[in-house]
């Protein structure tokens, strides 16, 4: 059990810098999820913590010890890989025991630790089997068992659930969370799946193009996205982003087609500033014409059962229309072709500077 600290960690291949300086502290026992689109550098960052990739500059310390130049085995970490990376010729027991054998633990100690982990993961009936005789979920468990028996300072997970089917993924997600809670080991978890990220994380790191765009709790990332990228990445369907220009004081915002929007409980920036107005689909409510903030022309309806999603255009008159998605109750009576007057729930707007992409206010 330990803290992990990253201080301005950078990575470059030749002249191309792929990680542009990430700084963060992971508390003891915390589960941190790194989420981002593929190629954003999240796996590279994890592999740098693991010691599988060299660090170009900056400093990584685990349990207060700088580990920059240490081999993976000296860092006191355990890693779970996306394709499990089990040793195919070894039994489940030997797979879990291998690291302990190398560490020269006594036979009895190894047997005890493997037994404990196998009981926790319900793997006892399979200890004698080869990985090839196991299902995907069981292999995943063995990979976790292999990490667990080491009793390391930190767990590192590299998209561990990506190879499982949807149902199993939900189940394993819960198990990982419970397991991590019960052993209380500091963990770093990489995924591209935002649902996984939101449900697992104590805190989230949202990464894009080698930059940590926001590091915060899942709820704060959802309700206060720091940048346009985070706003668009977290939440499904994604947040609606409408280009707008701030009007004179008291005049609200002017959309691309000239219509004025004045959402309630919103602090508007100085006049003339170019912004994006962000509203989540679930914060748009159909109302009567008089109370409407904006009007949307519905193009298509998606019925999901619990919810109905209406896709449409805002301000389509000048060819400068923006797409908009509205989330409504499952029984909402909307059809394609309707014009839907919508109110934005008070205080549920997000404003971003159009040039820097940063949140305003």
């Amino acid at each position: 059990m330990a803290t992990i600290a990253l201080n301005d960690v950078k990575k470059s291949y030749g002249r191309t810098e792929v990680i542009h300086g990430v700084t963060m502290e992971i508390e003891d026992g915390e589960l941190i999820v790194i989420v981002g689109p593929s190629g954003c550098g999240k796996s590279t960052l994890l592999r740098m913590v693991a010691g599988l990739e060299a660090i170009s500059s900056g400093e990584i310390s685990i349990a207060g010890r700088v580990v920059n130049n240490l081999e993976p085995r000296e860092r006191d970490i355990a890693m779970v890989f996306q394709n499990y990376a089990l040793y195919p010729h070894m039994s489940v027991y030997d797979n879990m025991a291998y690291g302990l054998k190398i560490a020269k633990l006594s036979k009895q100690e190894i047997a005890e630790r493997v037994d404990k982990a196998a009981t926790m993961l319900e793997l006892k009936p399979y200890l004698g089997r080869k990985p090839s005789a196991l299902s995907g979920g069981q292999r995943q468990r063995v990979a976790m068992g292999r990490a667990l028996v080491r009793n390391p300072a930190a767990f590192l997970f590299d998209e561990p659930l990506s190879n499982l089917d949807a149902k199993l993924r939900v189940q394993m997600r819960l198990e990982i969370k419970q397991l991590q809670r019960s052993v209380g080991t500091t963990s770093l978890y990489v995924t591209h799946d935002q649902v996984e990220a939101m449900t697992l994380a104590d805190r989230l790191i949202v990464m894009n193009a080698g930059v940590a765009e926001q590091i915060d709790t899942p709820m704060n990332v959802y309700s206060q996205p720091a940048t346009i990228f985070v706003a668009g990445f977290i939440g499904s369907p994604a947040m609606n982003l409408l280009p707008a220009v701030a009007g004179a004081p008291g005049k609200g915002l002017q959309l691309a087609d000239g219509t004025t929007v004045k959402p309630r409980e919103t602090r508007f920036p100085e006049a003339g500033r170019e912004v994006y107005l962000g509203v989540r689909p679930e914060h748009l409510v159909p109302v009567n014409d008089l109370n409407a903030d904006i009007e949307v022309k519905v193009l298509a309806i998606e019925t999901l059962g619990a919810d109905t999603l209406a896709h449409g255009l805002v301000g389509g008159s000048h060819g400068s229309a923006s797409n908009l998605v509205v989330r409504m109750p499952g029984n909402a009576a909307v059809r394609a072709g309707d014009t839907l007057p919508l109110a934005i729930e008070p205080g549920m707007t997000h404003l971003f500077d159009r040039r820097s992409g940063k949140r305003i206010g």
């Binding site: 599988l52 993976p72 085995r73 890693m79 040793y87 010729h89 690291g99």
Partner: protein
């Protein structure tokens, strides 16, 4: 299941049987001839059934020492050949698996240069470099020794390439998992790579053992004394141009002994490596 009519099955079996007869007959005939006395073999017609000299001929060949090859018994020839074939096979596998390991898993300067150097030796068969090799063996005083018989044959670009191809199919995560588990390069090689390669090793051993067993040109050059001959060379020396001069019954016995070990290796190892294949492909 592919359904076949009786007629096509009969035809297929007929063709297969004809094929087997054609392949097996010469070997059968060698066996038949090895059980007759020299006089019987030389007097036409050739006998088609085994004769009554089996024990006598085999005893003479193994323990008697054949005059033509300097009084050396077949037993000695078999021993020489076994040592050469096993050492060549084991040596080739050992050297090539280690060089493939280096080329695939380590990053060192001129790595690809070394790989291409190994690759290029494929273009230089034994016959092309035979004179310089012979010269080296003479200078090292290795003529008429096992060292001289084995060393020049022991490097193998083909086996290195085979192992390299196999190693490249091993997922990199396996290496990383082993590194996180604390395995150094030697441990990873012994505990993980070697067990995973066992099918390849078995297949290569069969091929290379037979390669070593049937070597002709190099043993012919590098051995002068009769008791360092391999069985193929001994066989050749037993046959002289004049038919009456050749002790055909003993030649045939030697032939049987020359054929038997490769057949045994193939039959025994085949079982083992098919089992290995089934296990790892699941």
């Amino acid at each position: 299941m592919i359904r076949t009519s009786i007629a096509s099955r009969v035809i297929a079996h007929f063709l297969l049987i004809v094929g087997i007869v054609i392949v097996v007959f010469p070997i059968y005939y060698v066996f038949v001839a090895s059980t007759h006395s020299l006089m019987d073999i030389l007097r036409p017609p050739l006998p088609l059934w085994p004769g009554n000299q089996f024990l006598h001929n085999y005893y003479e060949a193994i323990f008697g020492g054949v005059a033509k090859i300097g009084g050396v018994g077949v037993g000695r020839l078999l021993w020489n050949t076994t040592v050469v074939a096993v050492c060549v096979a084991v040596g080739k596998i050992g050297i090539s698996i280690l060089s493939a390991y280096a080329v695939v898993f380590f990053r060192f300067p001129l790595r690809m240069t070394f790989f291409w150097l190994i690759f290029i030796t494929l273009m230089l068969p034994v016959e092309v470099r035979i004179l310089p090799t012979y010269k080296v063996m003479v200078e090292l005083h290795l003529v008429d020794t096992f060292g001289g018989l084995i060393l020049p044959l022991i490097a193998s670009a083909t086996a290195t390439l085979l192992f390299r191809q196999f190693f490249m199919t091993i997922p990199p995560e396996l290496l990383e998992a082993a590194r996180v588990d604390g395995a150094g390069p030697a441990r990873f090689f012994l505990d993980i790579l070697l067990p995973l390669s066992r099918t390849n090793i078995a297949a290569l051993f069969v091929i290379l053992f037979i390669y070593g067993w049937t070597q002709y040109l190099w043993p012919l050059l590098v051995t002068n004394s009769n008791d360092m001959n391999t069985i193929v060379i001994g066989l050749r020396k037993m046959i002289s141009f004049a038919d009456a001069d050749t002790q055909w019954h003993l030649v045939m016995v030697t032939c049987i002994f020359a054929i038997l070990p490769p057949i045994l290796i193939v039959v025994l190892m085949q079982r083992w490596f098919v089992k290995g294949l089934v296990e790892s492909e699941k």
